[in-house]
């Protein structure tokens, strides 16, 4: 018993199957059409030839038997008639002749003693008269042949197939040699016609079956061809999506199996190559990371000791020999530079390795910027246009790195005053962005340099003196903006000077996997 939903499910499955079949419509259809044409050609030609041969064989056999009988009868019966038989004699003989096993009608034509043409027929088919015999046949029968070495008889037996009404007939005629009557016979070929018709029907049905069979075969062939192709398509797509471990199951030894094997080899080679490259990439990254870690240890010792030297310099007690004072100063300043370089290198390797994390807090942006400027003694050189009270959830240390690099860069290349302005893109929207613009009053950035300002170790021109910057500052600033889900863009202001625009989301917490806020369960936000 089929429940309605079973039926529904079956229907849906069928529709799915059809839809999935449609994906390869063209190839499947082409295969079916080709198979069908081949089957049709073969079946039609085979049936046609078979039908034609059969028809000839059947008709000839029947005809030969009938004609032999008729000839026999003519010799036996009509040959014994007197030269001028009466109507009755003719009628009688025709009746006797027709009684033979072949069941044909007989018509005898002779001249009686008075020179009248008399006609006797077998009576079975009383419609058989001279009118039924074609004129051409009568002429041929009546014509006396000249006797030669190759032709021993003056009269021959002639036959013809005619259609009377819808029925096929065999009509034949001859003349008794030596002035006897002319005899005609009429034999219905209907039984043979019926046999041949049923043969034609059978052949037609066989052709139809062959067509259906070929269509099914084409479907099966298409499926066996298309299934591996389909699988190959899926595998290729997966490979394209970066799943390099994708492999095909190879079965058989045909061309498709070859293709699958080639695919597997290619995927394997690709995987090896990619693994090789990423391993090399990884190795070089790890080298930089390890290197900067290793640099840190001696640097920590040097830094600690350098401070002692620095204090001696500041002490102004003359404890340091004036001869070596420049050397000490150099060591102190270069140690500081080395420190910041290693610090930046570490920062870069953390970004490259993807281990950089956000430590989020709610901060007042204006306060943060003021503190950043203040800590670096830039208050005189920077104009700040920011309202207090713009709270954002971000990583304050990273914001400081961005601001210090942007403002420091502006001061270095653009000259003071540097103008820093803070806006909120759309104050009412929940996902509003924070926009911080840092604008200098320098000559701006050349157009050809503009796309490269965030590149690592990019120097605008070789002639420019090496500044104390590590060449990583803007790159690190950009990475810090990215890790917040923000962006920094560089442009030239129409009023002159370069403008760096930092865009940060006001709440970056969506980017971190909800940092375990101590006791978030007890979040009663009442009364701040």
């Amino acid at each position: 018993m089929t429940k309605p939903q079973d039926k529904l499910r079956g229907w849906a499955a069928a529709r799915r199957a059809i839809l999935s079949g449609l994906r390869f419509t063209s190839l499947r259809l082409r295969l079916v059409v080709v198979f069908g044409l081949v089957a049709l050609t073969a079946a039609v030609s085979a049936s046609g030839i078979a039908y034609w041969l059969n028809r000839e064989a059947v008709l000839t056999r029947t005809q030969d038997a009938v004609l032999r009988d008729f000839q026999q009868e003519m010799q036996n019966r009509a040959g014994t008639l007197p030269a001028h038989p009466t109507q009755d004699e003719l009628q009688h003989t025709a009746g006797q002749m027709a009684a033979s096993s072949q069941r044909f009608s007989v018509l005898l034509v002779a001249e009686d003693a008075s020179g009248r043409t008399v006609v006797g027929n077998s009576g079975a088919l009383d419609t058989f008269s001279l009118a039924d015999v074609p004129e051409s046949l009568r002429t041929a029968v009546g014509r006396e042949q000249s006797i030669t070495s190759s032709n021993k008889y003056p009269y021959h037996l002639y036959w013809q197939r005619i259609i009377d009404g819808d029925e096929p007939y065999l009509v034949a005629g001859t003349k008794v040699i030596g002035g006897g009557p002319a005899g005609y016979m009429l034999k219905s070929l209907e039984p043979e016609e019926k046999d041949l018709n049923s043969l034609a029907w059978s052949l037609g049905i066989a052709t139809g079956l062959a067509l259906i069979g070929s269509a099914l075969l084409a479907q099966a062939a298409a499926t066996t061809v298309l299934k591996p192709v389909h699988r190959l398509g899926i595998a290729a797509r997966r490979l394209g999506e970066g799943k390099l471990d994708t492999r095909l199951r190879v079965s058989g030894t045909d061309e498709l199996a070859d293709l699958a094997r080639t695919f597997n080899h290619t995927a394997e080679a690709l995987e090896t190559r990619v693994a090789d490259m990423s391993a090399r990439d990884e190795a070089s990254r790890r080298f930089v990371a390890d290197m900067s870690h290793e640099l840190r240890t001696p640097l920590t010792a040097i830094t600690a000791v350098t401070e002692i030297l620095e204090e001696e310099l500041d002490a102004e007690t003359g404890s340091i020999d004036p001869m070596i004072e420049p050397a000490v100063k150099l060591v102190v300043s270069e140690t500081r530079r080395l420190n910041s370089l290693v610090e930046n290198l570490m920062e870069v390797t953390r970004f490259d390795a993807g281990t950089a994390r956000l430590v989020l807090d709610y901060v007042d942006i204006a306060d943060q910027i003021t503190a950043c400027i203040d800590a670096r003694a830039w208050l005189d050189a920077v104009e700040l246009d920011a309202e207090r009270g713009i709270m954002s959830r971000l990583d304050p240390r990273r914001l400081d790195v961005i601001l210090a690099n942007l403002i420091g860069n502006a001061l270095k290349h653009g000259g003071s005053p540097v103008r820093v302005s803070v806006r909120v893109s759309d104050a009412d929207a929940a996902d509003a962005d924070l926009l911080i613009e840092v604008q200098d009053h320098g000559p701006g950035i050349p157009e050809d340099v503009l796309p490269h300002v965030f590149d690592r170790f990019y120097k605008a021109s070789a002639s420019r003196p090496r500044s104390e910057g590590s060449g990583l500052g803007l790159s690190i600033a950009l990475e810090n903006a990215h890790i917040h889900g923000g962006e920094i863009t560089a442009a030239n202001s129409p009023k002159g000077g370069a403008v760096f625009t930092l865009r940060l989301p006001r709440d970056a917490s969506a980017l971190t996997e909800t940092p375990a806020e101590p006791n978030g369960a007890n979040a009663n936000g009442e009364g701040a």
Binding site: T297, T303, E307, N519, N522, N524
Partner: protein, 231 residues
């Protein structure tokens, strides 16, 4: 704590000879008495013998690492610990703070910064006023610098105590993490807010009845923390 209140004694546990020597030089110059140890095991032995006022502890140590040393110290002692992390990788900092450190400094450390941190940590234990306050069963005695819960003394590190004092000075008022970093840790505007979170968690474990659902130290979402009297 220390034998001489005016000269704080420090224990520096650091495996790298150069760093140990340099930091010892630098800290001694800043006016500290410095004892040094090259491994965690030696450090723990020295700790028992010398009773320093503060420990400066490297994270990457041969044998038992800095985190483990920190945990072992915290089992018996509440003296301040400052971690020296060679990496500022976040996992290190978080693990260090969870194992009970009061503050951390990232290498390459500047002697002056380390000195400032040391002095800030040591100041947390100094008493300021002579009153006391009670929050439910919790009694904070500011003159004796002790905290009791249901009459029992609580063992708080100086940092935990200072955090509780700063919160108790403004009961019912939410303090932001940045404010607490300034008040308790004396950090500038770039203080690591995780210091506050880690310390709050340790403090809750000691003062709350059920640390996972605190009734005294409440989180104020989007602001920070506040101390309430339980209703």
């Amino acid at each position: 704590m220390g034998q001489n209140a005016s000269v704080p004694s420090l224990l520096l546990i650091e495996d790298d000879d150069a760093i140990r020597t340099a930091l010892e030089l630098s800290l001694t110059r800043q006016g500290h008495r410095v004892a040094t140890a090259a491994t965690g095991e030696d450090g723990l032995k020295l700790l028992r013998e010398q009773r320093p006022d503060l420990i400066v502890l490297d994270v990457m140590l041969p044998g038992i690492d800095g985190f483990e040393v920190c945990r072992r110290i915290r089992r018996t002692d509440q003296l301040p610990i400052i971690l020296l992390t060679a990496r500022s990788d976040d996992i290190d900092v978080v693990v260090g703070l969870e194992s009970g450190a009061d503050d951390y400094v990232v290498k390459p450390v500047q002697g002056r910064v380390l000195d400032a941190r040391i002095r800030a940590v040591l100041r947390r234990g100094e008493r300021e006023s002579n009153d006391s306050a009670s929050f439910g069963s919790l009694v904070i005695d500011r003159s004796a610098m002790t905290v009791t819960k249901n009459g029992e003394d609580l063992q708080l590190t100086p940092t935990e105590l200072r955090l509780l004092l700063e919160l108790s000075r403004r009961p019912g008022q939410a303090l932001s993490r940045q404010q607490l970093l300034r008040l308790v840790w004396e950090h500038d505007y770039l203080g690591d807010s995780r210091l506050v979170d880690a310390c709050v968690q340790r403090l809750r474990a000691k003062v709350e009845d059920v640390p996972s659902s605190p009734t005294l130290i409440r989180t104020v979402r989007g602001v920070g923390y506040r101390l309430d009297s339980p209703q």
